[in-house]
């Protein structure tokens, strides 16, 4: 039988969660993912689903960053890559990649990412304003920055990404 007391267990539990949850502070859900060596995130309420794999059907006449379409339980969704828009090298063909199904108002699409790092809830205060030295191409796309596992994570504006993409960027 364990020699731990209930008080000790509760204290340990509180310590373990001290950094992630403060019941009095509003939290935000984030889907954190990697593109190349960089980490990014979308707000969780914009991501409906994370797909481990899906057959992508090529559609002619589209830019290279538009992979094609996938069939999600009878619904057709596009799949785009953000590498060009984010000025990242093309990482097509990396094994273990995922597709995030994003929706913002009337626009929806799958977004290819190299891997999903985590889906987590953090205190809103952990998401800081974008730094002044953010590269120009990222400035309109980044809503905030947080630190996760000692690495910077840029929280991206999915609404802006979709509307910029529809206008021909990326």
């Amino acid at each position: 039988m364990s020699e731990l007391t209930l008080d000790q267990v509760l204290t340990q539990s509180r310590e373990a969660h001290k950094d992630t949850v403060n019941a009095d502070e509003p939290t935000v859900k984030l889907v954190v993912f990697a593109l190349g060596d960089e980490w990014f995130a979308f707000y969780g309420h914009h991501i409906r689903e994370v797909l481990a794999s899906a057959d992508v059907y090529f559609i002619p006449g589209c830019p290279p960053s538009l992979e094609g379409v996938i069939n999600v339980r009878g619904d057709i969704e596009s799949v785009i890559r953000l590498n060009d828009m984010l000025h990242l090298p093309d990482s097509a063909g990396r094994s273990g990649s995922n597709i995030l199904l994003g929706r913002v108002e009337a626009m929806a699409s799958g977004i290819r990412v190299d891997r999903v790092i985590d889906v987590l809830e953090v205190p809103q205060s952990k998401v800081q304003a974008p730094p002044a030295n953010l590269p120009d191409h990222l400035r309109p796309l980044v809503l905030g920055i947080l630190s996760l596992q000692g690495r910077p994570v840029a929280v991206l504006d999915l609404d802006r990404i979709f509307s910029d993409y529809a206008r021909g960027l990326g």
Binding site: I59, I76, R167
Partner: protein, 130 residues
């Protein structure tokens, strides 16, 4: 033109003429097609690849057909790749173009997508926009 019936046709369905443009499958509503006949690769009619702005058909070696289109501005001959088939596509399989594809696709008249029995995507066009 052959008649290809999807297995277990559902109701309602839309009659479509399906054909090839290079490696891709294309469809248009059958009501736009007056007829079809076998043709040489350099036979009569405008090549579908040229009409849509797809890569040139110079390498096409497979059999072709010429479709007679009932275009609002008069009849029009269109040279397409085989197989050419008349198919009943259940409307449950017809999908609007996803918003980002509708915004970025560079092919004139692209309106919808259908997924065939074999899972292949068929791009559906509206000939009145050609």
């Amino acid at each position: 033109m052959s008649e290809a019936r999807d297995s277990q046709p559902e109701s309602p369905a839309l009659a479509m003429v399906l054909f090839s443009a290079g490696p891709w499958r294309i469809g248009i509503e059958a009501r736009w097609v007056g007829g079809s006949r076998r043709a040489a690769a350099d036979g009569p009619g405008e090549a579908i690849e040229s009409l849509l702005g797809l890569p040139a058909e110079g390498s096409r070696t497979g059999p072709c057909q010429t479709l007679s289109l009932k275009h609002p501005e008069g009849g029009r001959a269109l040279r397409v790749g085989e197989p050419v088939a008349l198919a009943e596509i259940p409307i449950s399989r017809l999908h609007r173009l996803p918003s980002l594809i509708a915004a970025r696709i560079g092919l004139r008249g692209a309106r919808a997508l259908a997924l065939a029995d074999d899972g292949q995507a068929v791009l559906i066009f509206d000939p009145s926009r050609w």
